[in-house]
């Protein structure tokens, strides 16, 4: 990972233990000015914990946190220059929207006209002007989350922290607000750190995604890189829906390495190995995404093709997921919805090994 010259947020050797349980392990992360970073991972991976550490809501065990070049490791949350948006909105139920927005400013003793100015600006950006005099209980979920974002907005902070802000909303609202957050980021150009377990949010919003597991960042890269060249099997399986297909087999070394699994041999001449030592013969796992498998006539043009039969057909509206067998193992691939396939149909599938991912069967790391 290239060092970032003047990071907006810099986390250095951060560790957090709860008693004997280690939640975060010597974690390093540099976030550039104006960057949108998404912390992605399954529940319990420590992503929300990391965010709470950055916010100063949890005391860390080791390491340092810098925001805007200032060491804030021991600072109170309010002095860190952050605004935070929570999953449950966390609006103060007894206050009107306006009072919710102004609470932090009133605590800080900001002059009244300044408060009014900032609320007007935030309300305009988020289009919540008509709601200002309402109580949170009289708002819908989407409106509440807008207000919660507004509360971070009025504080005029450098860094926005989002803790699964859209998880409590229904699918339609979620995609609407996702777009709004993206627009907001473009407009404000603040640094944003966004925690989610939803890969679509991560892919669409992020400049860079940090995929986490067990308190460790597995891969930190642009969404496309993470999608196309996952560093290990966990990242490969976590991103992408429907999930990547994995075929167990082994690698045969030689001038042109070949992946072999129960009657199938895939030439890997076009596959980009991460390093030369990866070419050695060993058991490995071959990963290919469902959308990278072609079928029918298109398959013939592919460097690798195979005959197979349809096992199950899952129509999903926009496209159809077809399950079949390759090398004796079940895999799925995507076809357009208008293709009519039936169970038991004989088909030809094919793919370009250059788009595949190869993992060491023992370490799960990319070869």
């Amino acid at each position: 990972m290239a060092a970032i010259a003047d990071p907006s947020v810099s986390i250095q050797n951060l560790s957090l233990n709860f008693g004997s349980v280690s939640v975060l392990q010597t974690l390093n992360l540099d976030v550039a000015e104006g960057e949108f970073i998404v912390l992605l991972g399954p529940s319990g991976c420590g992503k929300s914990t990391l965010l709470n550490c950055i916010a100063g809501l949890l005391d860390i065990s080791e390491g340092r946190i810098f925001i805007k070049g200032k060491n804030v490791t021991w600072e109170e949350p309010k002095d860190r220059g952050i605004g935070m948006v929570f999953q449950s909105y966390a609006l103060y139920p007894q206050m009107t929207v306006e009072k919710n927005l102004s609470f932090g400013l009133r605590v800080a003793g900001v002059p009244k006209d300044e408060i009014a100015k900032r609320i007007a600006r935030a309300a305009e950006i988020l289009q919540i002007e008509p709601l200002l005099q309402r109580k949170p209980s009289a708002l819908s979920g989407g409106q509440r989350q807008r207000v919660a974002i507004g509360r971070a907005l009025v504080r005029d902070v450098d860094v926005f922290l989002f803790d699964e802000p859209l998880s409590n909303l229904d699918a339609k609202l979620r995609s609407e607000l996702r777009v709004e957050i993206k627009l907001l980021h473009r407009k404000l150009e603040n640094t944003m750190i966004y925690v989610t377990h939803d890969q679509i949010e991560a892919m669409t919003l992020a400049d860079r995604i940090a995929v986490m597991r067990g308190g460790v960042i597995q891969q930190l890269d642009a969404p496309q890189t993470i999608y196309n060249r996952p560093v290990n099997r966990f990242v490969a399986g976590f991103l992408g829906s429907p999930a990547m297909n994995f075929i167990n087999g082994h690698l045969e070394a030689g001038e042109a390495p070949v992946f072999k699994a129960d009657g199938v041999s895939v030439p890997l001449g076009r596959y980009q190995f991460d390093n030369e030592s990866g070419r050695a013969a060993k058991p490995c796992v071959f990963g290919i995404r469902p959308e990278h498998i072609e079928f029918g006539e298109a398959a013939r043009a592919m460097p690798f093709t195979a005959e197979s039969t349809v096992e199950i057909v899952d129509p999903m509206g926009s496209d159809t997921l077809v399950w079949t067998k390759l090398g004796g193992q079940i895999i799925s691939f995507r076809v357009e919805a208008d293709k009519t396939l039936r169970n038991g149909d004989a088909i030809r599938i094919g793919f370009d090994p250059a788009r595949a991912s190869l993992f060491d069967a023992e370490t799960d790391n990319r070869l």
Partner: protein
């Protein structure tokens, strides 16, 4: 009965024609209902009968009471016993009735309730939201305090109060009540504040509010139900207290309960049952009113505090 059976017959015909449809028919006189309402009725009578006897007796004159028909309503209603109980009954040297005890009890209950709730709510808030070092140990010690019988501590407290120089004063009793209310009230408030979403507390911290800021501006306005519960518990508990009242005060500062006891249990003269009944009802009136006024909030608050612990 006839209507019910006709309706049932109609339902049976309908169901035979097309199978069951619509709401399942319910019978007002089913075995379940008879048991349920029958039990409720018996229990209600069981509890209300003594109250009835008390009210009726307190409205009778002594000659009528001597006839012995304790369940019969008064032939001639008189409020003389009530007046006597309130302002003329003698205890020791004082003959100004329960009124003196009433005002003593007010002077004990009001400051005790306010003081204990103020301290306990802050305790509970600190324990629930600011997990300071040793918080769990502190909490355990506090809870253990709730299980130690009061009687064990009476004498040590007498000595402590004497040494401080407030033995026998209302101030001393107020302090004792506040301390003894602490374990259960702190538990109550802690559980209530724990059940509140933690993100709210975090949001307030990010907004820059401190310990008191969050307590006064965020938590307090959201905790009306639990404050009502605490007030009811404390008002009834302290008002009905007899033991501390008799130990830690002097005759001229006796609370109402102690004075009531002295009136009812006096061995000299004629037993004035009507005055005793009136005095007892008067003493019990305050907790009764508190329950009736705030019963709904009480139930809601108990449930709210009990969900998560």
């Amino acid at each position: 009965m006839a209507d019910v059976s006709v309706a049932a017959e109609a339902a049976a015909i309908r169901s035979a024609a097309s199978g069951p449809s619509g709401p399942k028919p319910r019978h007002a006189l089913s075995r379940r209902n008879i048991f349920l309402y029958g039990t409720l009725l018996v229990v209600a009578l069981y509890y209300l009968l003594p109250l009835y006897v008390m009210v009726v007796t307190s409205l009778k004159g002594m000659p009528e009471i001597r006839l012995g028909n304790i369940f019969s309503p008064p032939l001639e209603i008189t409020f003389e016993p009530w007046v006597k109980a309130w302002s003329q009954a003698c205890t020791g040297l004082n003959c100004d009735g329960l009124s003196r005890g009433f005002w003593n009890s007010v002077r004990i209950t009001v400051p005790s309730v306010l003081l204990s709730i103020a301290i306990a709510s802050v305790n509970g808030y600190a324990l629930a939201n600011w997990r300071f070092k040793g918080a769990d140990t502190f909490f355990v010690i506090l809870i253990v305090g709730a299980f130690i019988p009061y009687q064990v501590m009476i004498y040590p407290i007498v000595i402590i109060l004497r040494e401080i120089g407030i033995y026998g004063t209302l101030t001393g009793l107020v302090i004792v009540h506040s301390i003894f209310g602490m374990p259960i009230l702190t538990l109550l408030f802690r559980n209530y504040f724990t059940s509140m979403p933690e993100e709210l507390f975090r949001a307030a911290r990010v907004d820059g509010a401190g310990f008191w800021g969050i307590y006064l501006r965020i938590m307090l306005p959201m905790s009306l139900p639990i404050f009502v519960v605490a007030i009811i518990l404390q008002v009834t508990g302290i008002w009905n207290d007899f033991l501390f009242g008799v130990v830690y005060t002097r005759p001229d500062t006796y609370p109402m309960t102690v004075q009531l006891n002295n009136i009812v249990n006096s061995v000299q003269g004629v037993k004035e049952y009507n005055v005793n009944m009136a005095a007892t009802i008067l003493t019990g009136l305050v907790p009764l009113i508190v329950y009736f006024v705030s019963g709904k909030l009480f139930v809601r608050g108990i449930a709210a505090g009990a969900v998560k612990g």
